[in-house]
């Protein structure tokens, strides 16, 4: 499962974020310091993971403290099956 998530993250970087430093990709790689992913690129990454790979970041997840590395992101992702309440 975790391998899936890592592969999905890598695929999005490869396909949609050509400015990311893909050569440094690893579970322990820091999104900003190692992969050169800024806040807008992180948002793009999350949206593509949701739309194309079936993973999302639940709404209560904070984008700031607990999210530093690829492993952190992979751990926080959940599969897109539970329905969101809508208004």
């Amino acid at each position: 499962m975790s391998a899936n998530r890592h592969a999905a993250i890598k695929a999005v970087l490869q396909q949609h974020l050509p400015n990311a430093r893909l050569s440094a990709f690893a579970g322990s790689a820091r999104l900003n310091a190692d992969l050169a992913i800024d806040s807008i690129m992180l948002l793009q990454l999350i949206v593509h993971l949701e739309l194309e790979h079936g993973f999302n970041l639940p709404e209560e997840t904070l984008l700031t403290q607990e999210l530093e590395t690829v492993d952190d992101l992979a751990r926080l992702l959940v599969a897109n099956d539970q329905k969101e309440p809508s208004l």
């Binding site: 948002l43 999350i46 739309l51 639940p58 709404e59 997840t61 904070l62 969101e84 208004l87």
Partner: protein
Amino acid sequence: MTTPLFYVDNTPYSQDDCDRIVSPLVGSGPFQNPASCRLAVCLQDTAHWLALCLWLKPLGASVLPIHPGTPLQAAQTLAKDTGCSHLLFGDNLRDAAPEALEALTNPAKGNGGELIQLSSGTTGKPKTIARSWRDIDRELTAYVDHFTEAQPLTPVVACPVTHSYGLICGVLAALERGATPHVVTNLNPRFILSQLRSVPEHLLYASPTLVSLLIRILPPSETLHTVMLSGAPLPAPVLNQLRDRCQRLCQQYGCSEAGCVALTPDVTKPGLLGTPLPHVSLDAGTSAEQPDDVLITIKGSGQQINTRDLGYFDAHGQLHFLARTDDTINVAGINVYPGAVEDVYLRYPGIREAVAYKQADSFAGERVCLRFVADAVLDIDQLKQWSREHLSPHQVPAFIEQVETIPRLPNGKVSRRLLSEAPAHTLAAEVPA
């Protein structure tokens, strides 16, 4: 429990909370005489920054807000460069103590205090712009009077409140009209959607990029209520996509020196900026055929600003943007506006991004060049043929190139000037394969 003044993410802050937040500073150090203090502020905790700002504004202190996350040394340099006497740096006001600085410049004392900003400047070094709180109050009154559609709405501010757009138009304008702004600092897209759902009559302040990403994950059955756009007008396809997913799409226009100067509560076509706000007078061209630089005159101070944007007023008094003056391409005496060319190419199947820019040409003066990003490799000859069928002759690019990515400035903007100045092969080399 007193009524909240504002929310940061899910946490409400009342006036009492704000008073408590700033209490460690009251009467200490530079705050013994706030009106003579020029303070740089870089705090991680957005609620603490807002409480501090709301406390200092009526006391007439001058403040330079610095984006949270800026490293200490960079914050010190910014503070010194803008003539600040002190820097408050840290997580929040419990931990941060004002550090006295040797200012490099001795700025003229602002009467009644100033908000100091650094303009993003697409050209080069950022420029320091200080606006008096009095000018900002005039803008706020004008903004609230002009933008009556916002009256029943709750602003949701998902952009930095250390910059004028989020701080003045988002937070301060909300307080001015008695609304409770919701500031979002957690940019998790699902979290932002949940915030928007929690206030169904929302007015969203966010970058166009963020709005575009949000509508991609917005369930088809839902729409956003009201969304404000600012900055350079969006290409037609992006604008239309957004219009489909919002009940109301607004656009505002301005600059760091004057704040917001024009606004439309219904942006029906690309480049529409709306009618001028009452605190300024605007000059521009008289029609699409006779555009001119947009000139702003601030009524209070008489200060004049040339925006270097080319625009015109239509018969209904609505201001339209055509291009940055410097980006306009003069092909044998005929003006070509990059946005108009780009909008045509964005209709071509598979093209995701397109940037038109100029290159000097010994015969025509300047020629149009085009760089685009597409889903698959496109046949350039076929595209050139298509170009001749869809563009007027002077708009047809002399040079078309497909690239993996279009280089952007650190602030995310495309610089047509840089594209024009760099020879094509250097740019291609910079693009990672």
